[in-house]
């Protein structure tokens, strides 16, 4: 089997990333480069949205599988997954961060105590985070995950606003409110609905239409725009 990006073999000694949920396999270095370059986390092969990847690497014939959150930024430890701001070592090659203690744990598990300062993905020597030169890449990782969150939030907002707009339209079409008043109340009510649903769209728990209607009524009365 070969990596669809570089077309080289996915050899036993290579660090292979298996994207979830589609299971398409790439060299870790190849897929990370593409994700950074394109600013997106879709699988290049099937275009599905990926969140996690399994990393497979061979060391002394033992396969280590690590579930790796694609959106995770470099300040998470790649071994324990903790984001505690105490990353001590970073790999310059594949831009991954590690706790010193976690690196020791892995090398102990593999029986290779002397080589603990190796990146678990590319085996190159990790450098102390203070001396890491990859600040630009770290920043882009952060940006990438932030952007993805922003996009999700935008989608949630659009969906919630649709309910509010529908409810407000009744007042607008009956000429009970002006377009400025429409915008103002829409903003107030939508913001309230994002808050109560914790910035997620969850129409199982919340009946948005009813919520929107009652909140609109309240706001209109409070502002004295329409008697309802």
């Amino acid at each position: 089997m070969s990596c669809p990006i570089c077309l080289e073999d996915l050899a036993a000694n290579d660090i292979i990333s298996e994207l979830k949920p589609c299971n398409h396999k790439y060299h870790l270095v190849c897929i990370r480069k593409w994700q950074l370059d394109s600013n997106q986390l879709k699988c290049p092969y099937c275009q599905c949205k990926t969140g996690k990847m399994n990393l497979k690497l061979n060391k002394l014939n033992s396969v280590v599988r690590i579930v790796y959150d694609t959106k995770k930024s470099i300040d998470d430890c790649q071994i324990c997954g903790l984001k505690d701001g105490k990353i001590e070592f970073i790999c310059d090659e594949c831009e991954l961060g590690y706790h010193e203690s976690c690196l020791h744990d892995v090398s102990n598990d593999l029986g290779m105590q002397t080589t603990w300062r190796e990146c678990i993905n590319c085996q190159s020597e990790v450098v102390h985070s203070e001396r890491n030169s990859n600040m630009r890449i770290i920043e882009s990782f952060k940006r990438l995950s932030l952007q993805d969150q922003e996009e999700e939030l935008k989608e949630v907002k659009v969906r919630i606003q649709k309910h509010v707009r529908n409810a407000l339209n009744n007042y607008y079409e009956a000429k009970k409110i002006t377009s400025e008043q429409f915008t103002e109340v829409n903003k107030l009510v939508s913001r309230h609905l994002y808050q109560i649903s914790n910035n997620r769209y969850d129409d199982q728990t919340h009946h948005y239409d009813t919520l929107a209607k009652s909140r609109i009524k309240m706001e209109l009365q409070r502002l004295g725009y329409a008697h309802v």
């Binding site: 990006i5 077309l7 080289e8 480069k33 593409w34 370059d37 290049p44 092969y45 275009q47």
Partner: protein, 151 residues
């Protein structure tokens, strides 16, 4: 990038395709500039005509897309700029993926000849003929340009 393009070159030597008549680097010393000859798809206004494509591979390939162009004044198509030969195709733009290769791009371009999209026009008049659903004029106008430029 170099090893990948070398692999594509090797694969292209054994390429067999109904519509790709030739796909070669302009010089084997430099695999970043390619030329391709395609056949117009059957049942399209381009049938019985051949077209030359120029493909330039950027240093950042496959992370960024190759630049593909028809020869100037050779391709009357709603999604091709007639004067420059520039092509508007989603996979050559925002929908590019590094798993695509040169052959795939060429096949997508052949497919585009049969499946024009008037929503992203580079040739406004031909796109408008599709929008008006005037297929007779669409076919005849393409045929005019093809025969006229052949001279």
């Amino acid at each position: 990038m170099e090893s990948r393009i070398l692999k594509e070159y090797k694969d292209s030597r054994s390429l067999q395709s109904q519509y790709i008549l030739a796909l070669d680097p302009i010089s084997t010393d430099d695999l970043t500039h390619w030329e391709c000859t395609i056949k117009g798809p059957l049942h399209s206004p381009f049938a019985n005509h051949t077209f030359k494509l120029r493909i330039d591979i950027p240093q950042t390939y496959p992370l960024t897309t190759p630049i593909c162009k028809f020869e100037p004044f050779a391709m009357p198509h709603p999604n091709v700029n007639f004067e420059t030969g520039e092509i508007c195709l989603d996979i050559l733009d925002t929908n590019w993926s590094p798993v695509f290769n040169i052959q795939y791009i060429v096949e997508a371009i052949v497919w585009l000849l049969n499946e024009p999209n008037f929503k992203s026009p580079l040739n406004l008049d031909l796109a408008n003929l599709l929008r008006f659903d005037d297929l007779k004029a669409y076919h005849d106008l393409i045929s005019y340009h093809l025969n006229n430029s052949a001279k």
